[in-house]
């Protein structure tokens, strides 16, 4: 429970002080430069300052704080992954998430809802049972449940899905939660700034200088910075950054669209996901249905939305909840996803000394914000990757040791 609310009620100091200090000029030299002031970049800065006392850090953001994937996701947090490496990693993230409101003294609206991944086919049932067993083995609360259990938890659902794709069961993950995504970035950012980190918005990286295989500096639209350590945490813009240091990756970029409905009375306590119907939905604290689906079916570096997406998603929503037919869509938006062949992120060191990568976050990055920040801070400070992210290293493709997480993606892509 953040005490901020109580303090605010009793305090005569109004308005409260700003979370972020005013912009100062860039210094010539930083110990670490982090590219991207989204959740991941700011979390890395926060843990660098808090856990390793490295505070001469600049976080460079070409837009505003949280303008990228952090502000564009559907805020779902879960750890019911498919591989032991994935489950261990995301479960640690979930554990960190639970304490963040108190740690930041900022209400993140972290709300445990229970997460249902619906199965509409025999093969989906098989994958859900598989995931449930891996999860339980790793100590994560997750089980396969029958359709009656789904109906009891979510009374408004149509179990027959209009007769098209009857629900045959679901993977039920009680710790599944939602949180206020913007606040996660603000909390990490404010915590980092408080410890001396500088956040520079409207500061675009235009080049990275490498000499003898080592990072030596960053060129920006506001001047040159000398540094020996750079973290790229830019989600859908990763290929532009890796191009600057001459690293090739398997990343390809696709837009992922999402939308919210007009606010409704609370009727949906749980998070409902259907891979076969390409839909995931939860109800926000202010009553809006937050809905998302699959990524666009071809590579695109544009954040445009399309009528095809909204129509497709609406029709699948009506399969699940027929009574929503008169409900209006309020907003539609898109974010960029850097996709990888095995649906796992790419984290850690690279062939260029001092250049660290936190990328490949596809459609699964928000839930990893705390643990990615923590593990990347460790990687940067110690110049070595913790065991928790070893499976996600860039060289896994050369070693043919892919981490197959496609079956744990919320929807098929």
């Amino acid at each position: 429970m953040p005490y901020q609310l109580v303090k605010y009620a009793l305090s005569s100091k109004y308005p409260r002080t700003r979370m972020f200090t005013a912009t100062v000029d860039l210094k010539d030299n930083y110990d670490v430069v982090i590219i991207g002031a989204g959740g991941h970049g700011l979390a890395a800065a926060y843990y660098l300052a808090r856990d390793y006392d490295i505070t001469n850090v600049a976080v460079l953001e070409k837009d505003y704080i949280g303008a990228g994937g952090t502000g564009r996701n559907t805020t779902i947090i879960r750890s019911n992954y498919l591989t032991p490496e994935g489950v261990r990693f995301y479960d640690e993230s979930l554990r960190l998430f639970k304490d963040l409101s108190t740690e930041f003294d900022l209400n993140l609206f972290y709300s445990e809802r229970g997460h249902f991944t619906l199965a509409h086919s025999d093969s989906a049932v098989r994958t859900m049972r598989w995931r449930a067993e891996v999860n339980k083995h790793m100590g994560v609360n997750s089980e396969f449940v029958n359709p009656d259990f789904v109906k009891e938890s979510c009374p408004y659902i149509d179990l027959t899905c209009g007769g098209n794709a009857p629900i045959m069961g679901a993977l039920y993950h009680p710790p599944g939660a939602i949180a206020r995504h913007d606040a996660v970035a603000w909390g990490y950012g404010a915590g980092a700034v408080k410890r001396g980190v500088e956040i520079h918005q409207n500061t675009e990286v235009v080049g990275i200088d490498v000499r003898k295989g080592k990072v030596i500096g960053v060129r920006t639209n506001r001047g040159y910075i000398r540094t020996s350590k750079i973290l790229s945490a830019v989600a859908g813009w990763t290929p532009q950054i890796t191009d600057m240091v001459g690293i090739r990756t398997p990343i390809y970029v696709r837009p992922l669209q999402a939308c919210v409905s007009e606010p409704l009375k609370p009727f949906l306590d749980t998070i409902i996901v259907s891979g076969s119907l390409h839909v995931y939905v939860s109800q926000s604290s202010r009553g809006e249905l937050v809905m998302g689906g699959a990524t666009d079916p071809y590579d695109l570096n544009m954040m445009r939305t399309s009528l095809e997406f909204t129509e497709g998603l609406a029709s699948h929503m009506l399969d699940l909840f027929p009574f929503l037919s008169e409900v209006k869509i309020l907003r539609v938006w898109a974010g960029l996803c850097d996709m990888t062949p095995d649906f796992a992120p790419i984290m850690g060191k690279t062939p260029v000394e001092g250049f660290y990568l936190d990328a490949g976050w596809g459609t699964w990055g928000f839930k990893a914000t705390p643990i990615s920040g923590k593990t990347m801070a460790h990687t940067i400070a110690k110049d070595c990757e913790p065991d928790l992210i070893y499976a996600f290293r860039l060289s896994r493709f050369e070693d043919f040791e892919l981490t197959g997480e496609k079956g744990a993606a919320s929807v098929g892509h």
């Binding site: 590579d299 544009m302 493709f397 050369e398």
Partner: protein, 88 residues
């Protein structure tokens, strides 16, 4: 890009097509190193710009090449694949 021009069937709605990924030239399997093979298998050029891509017209079973700008989603041209010579 709501309409795509199939080189055989002419302009058709985009939902009649399937995207087949970026065109990549397969290296000579006898001469290739492990590193080059991995690069061919996995790595992609994710930077926005004009790319050559495989597209498939489902209704008529036609695979062809489209040159498309992934920053603007504008298709510059489409044509049939004629072996390696139309890329040299």
């Amino acid at each position: 890009m709501k309409i795509l021009n199939c080189p055989i069937n002419g302009p058709r709605p985009i939902h009649e097509f399937i995207y087949g990924g970026e065109f990549r030239d397969m290296p000579d399997v006898d001469a290739v190193t492990d590193g080059e093979w991995v690069d061919y298998l996995y790595n992609r050029s994710g930077v926005p710009g004009i790319k050559r891509e495989w597209w498939y017209h489902v209704a008529s079973n036609v695979w062809f090449i489209a040159e498309r700008d992934t920053a603007t989603n504008v298709v510059c041209k489409t044509y049939l694949f004629e072996g390696r010579r139309n890329y040299e």
